[in-house]
């Protein structure tokens, strides 16, 4: 079977999607909301990696620009949620 250069990146991106599902499981389980923010942060990094890989896979440069914009916007989102969480008392929830 013949493997091109871009197929290597496709295999990597599929593995990243699998890792994203694993992190989504932590977003479901995590007992406190900081745990969920950590899971969201991990998903953000994985998705930026997927966007870089898929942009190379499709060979379209504008797709990489979305990765740059998303990397900065997801940081703003994380800061917003962290700012709110720090102003309240966290208690263990079972749901």
């Amino acid at each position: 079977m013949s493997i091109g250069h871009l197929d290597v990146i496709l295999i990597g991106v599929s593995l990243l999607a699998f890792g994203m599902l694993i992190s989504l499981l932590r977003l479901f389980l995590g007992p406190t909301s900081p745990d969920r923010v950590v899971a969201l942060d991990t998903i953000n990094t994985l998705v930026v990696g997927m966007m870089i890989g898929l942009g190379a896979f499709y060979e379209q440069v504008i797709l990489i620009d979305i990765a740059i914009v998303y990397a900065i916007l997801s940081f703003v989102t994380t800061l917003f949620i962290a700012r709110y969480i720090s102003s309240r008392k966290e208690k263990e929830e079972s749901q």
Binding site: L10, F18, M20, R36, N44, V47, M51, L73, Y84
Partner: protein, 87 residues
């Protein structure tokens, strides 16, 4: 090559599964901040799905609105509530 077509479809299905899963989590969580986090994850994955379908303009709008703006507005709204859903 058939294997890579299969892999591409598998990638697509994993992202779709993630969208449905995180959307279910939004409904399930009673804690409002957790629901907001799940909503951010959902809109992030929707943006990724547009990305895979090669619609860069839609993806960039979804990333800006879904991840940045909606989360900020919802957090501002939650600040004036008790923070939990009760019934």
């Amino acid at each position: 090559m058939e294997f890579f077509t299969f892999l591409y479809d598998a990638l697509h299905f994993m992202v779709l599964f993630g969208i449905v899963g995180s959307a279910l989590l939004v409904v399930k969580f009673k804690d409002l901040v957790s629901a907001t986090i799940a909503l951010a994850a959902c809109s992030l994955l929707v943006s990724l799905e547009f990305f895979i379908l090669q619609a860069p303009d839609v993806a960039i709008a979804e990333a800006a609105v879904g991840a940045g703006l909606t989360t900020a507005i919802l957090i501002f709204a939650i600040k004036s509530t008790r923070g939990r859903e009760e019934y």
